[in-house]
């Protein structure tokens, strides 16, 4: 359960978020939509704890825990996962090694025993197959030489393996053709669960046809301007963000 209250965020001197409120209960999927420059990506980065974003006011809790006092990796260990719009390449580090390091960090934080290479490989093979990713991709370096679609599917694979309690997806639909979009959406839908909240950030309602959100919020000028059910997306698609400008 994510609770954001009166959140103000600045990059340098410039205030980007100006009193944002958002509440996503467990088991729910919310979408935040908005035009370019409305602060959508800032919201995802500030929740993940990226450097350079200054919280000047407000609070954010995940399952009652104050996350703003946590470092980036502590937030990840507390259950926040951000599927990124532009996943970076890490040359020389295999997907398998990367995921093993990450999963074992998460497992240790939960007090679970670490997985060895064999257990890890088995788990990954199963999850990769569900997402239509080849085994060969697990051996390749993280995101190196991946197509746009592969990168996004790889993000979802990581999400499936790390089992976070809050999934934030920042424009995971950008650059995907319709088939890739469906695969990614299927992957996300499979992860919907009673004890997990999801925040989907997108420009277009197209993605929301495949991942039906419980609620939609319109973000502009650093604040939530309007909230509604899934039908709000269609309205926005027809009229644009003009009304909320």
């Amino acid at each position: 359960m994510l609770k954001i209250k009166n959140l103000h965020v600045a990059i340098g001197e410039k205030e980007i978020l100006k009193g944002l409120d958002l509440h996503i209960p467990n088991g729910k999927v919310h979408a935040v939509m908005g035009p370019n420059g409305s602060g959508k990506s800032t919201l995802s980065y500030v929740l993940a704890g990226k450097a350079g974003y200054n919280v000047t006011k407000g609070s954010v809790t995940l399952d009652g825990k104050d996350i703003l006092s946590m470092s980036c990796n502590e937030r990840a260990l507390a259950g926040i996962f951000l599927a990124m719009q532009y996943p970076v390449e890490i040359p020389g580090v295999s997907n398998l090694t990367f995921l093993k390091t990450a999963l074992n960090a998460v497992r240790s934080a939960k007090g679970l025993p670490e997985l060895d290479a064999m257990q890890m490989l088995k788990l990954l093979k199963t999850k990769a197959k569900e997402l239509g990713l080849s085994e060969e991709m697990l051996k390749r370096a993280v995101n190196s030489g991946f197509s746009g679609g592969e990168k996004k599917r790889n993000e979802i694979l990581q999400m499936a393996v790390l089992e976070p309690s809050l999934c934030i997806m920042d424009e995971i639909d950008s650059g995907l053709d319709i088939d890739a979009l469906k695969t990614v959406a299927d992957g996300v839908n499979a992860l919907r669960s009673e004890n997990r909240s999801m925040l989907i950030i997108t420009h277009y309602q197209r993605l929301l046809e495949y991942i039906r959100p419980d609620r939609i919020h319109v973000l502009n000028h650093g604040k939530i301007q309007r909230s509604g059910d899934a039908s709000l997306a269609l309205e926005l698609e027809a009229e644009g963000y003009k009304l909320h400008a």
Binding site: A48, A51, C72, N73, A76, M84, V88, G92, T101, A102
Partner: protein, 489 residues
Amino acid sequence: MSNTSANPPENIFDENYKYGFSTDIASESFPMGLNEDIVRLISAKMNEPNWMLKKRLNAFAVWKNMKEPAWAKVSYPPIDYQNSYYYSAPKKKDENAPMTLDDIDPKIKETYDKLGVPLHEQEIFAGVQKPRVAVDAVFDSISVATTYKEELKKHGIIFCPISEAITKHSDLVQKYFSTVVPPDDNFFAALNTAVFTDGTFVFVPKGVRCPMELSSYFRINARNTGQFERTLIIAEEGASVSYLEGCTAPQRDENQLHAAVVELTALDNANIKYSTVQNWYPGDKEGKGGIYNFVTKRGLCKGRNSKISWTQIETGSSITWKYPSCVLLGDDSIGEFYSIAITNNYQQADTGTKMIHIGKNTSSTIIAKSISAGHSSGTYRGLVKVTKSAKNAKNKTQCDNLLIGGSCTANTIPYIESGQSCAVLEHEATASKISDEQLFYCKQRGLTDEQAMSLIVNGFCKEVLQEIPMEFAVEAQKLIGLSLEGSVG
């Protein structure tokens, strides 16, 4: 409120040097300073045959007329060669008794235990045998222990301190000693030839594949003492051997000199793999103290179809001046150089290789990875030379630099000399930085700063790490990880 800096971490390699302790033992040293008498004393101490004393004296005469090289991209105050001890050794219980594993001072055993170097032979435990590694341990000026000597002897392999080889296998040593690195090769090689005190000798006879990894572990303990070790490895026709050296030294404020010479000779179809994990004390954050590592390493692929492969991981020393090279004399011979050089704080490294193609169809590969952080400077300097006789010579060179923070420098200085129109020479160089985006990506998945840095740096070094023998691969990765500990954030 969260307010984290967007600046890249500058001091990620800051660490407490784990091996900085010193061992308090009774030792015997020669008077400070360098002159002909000291050279004679060293030779007499080792009970050397006359030919060796002559070699030393000649080298000393040559050295006196040589000038310290100044072309490397390193700077340091002038070294006073008279202000150093040239011989320091732990005292033996009985002057004349040969050292066995049981005679070693427990404090020295403890030292090597702390360093994680086994000075005992692995026993088979419950039917499971750990990978076995034979060790020659050199403490200051002398070798204190060599394991698995007897077992290796059964295969005809000689693995012993070079001081012992010079007396016991005098003819063999004389046949190969200073044939690859002549005494007048350079200033430090001449100095080493005059005053070297110990090191390792390896001889693998015709057709024998060495059944285990061989290794030497060099430790400088005494204050103001230079270490001048000499290593000589010979692989006869069809023989093969893999050898690894490791080095550490206590944390001291003054600089100490380490000037080694390593010579390798591979005959027809022979194969020598030489790996180094160099972790000499690098000096403190302000650049005070640390080892000056001025080393000459060269391998001669003398026979047809022979192969010499150098792999090095250089993380220590305040100054590194080192160019492990291959002379590809035999037709179809192969030379390889794989290197990772990490510099931090005020460390300076000028390192690389020379590949000299003389025989026909010779080929060489160079992969050099340099990682610079803090105010350090890392330079790759390499020569690929193809002589007229080297028909169809091939070389592939790849130099990659990774920079961390904004105060370090990296240089790539390749020299190519080709006297052959049909030679195929490829050179590639890249420079990159660890990006904030990469760090953020890793941390968002739950990795700490150190884990993230270690993962990214290990990935960068992957092609070289693959070349480290299995038995040491985990250690090497850990060392790279360890150099990152307690620094970012």
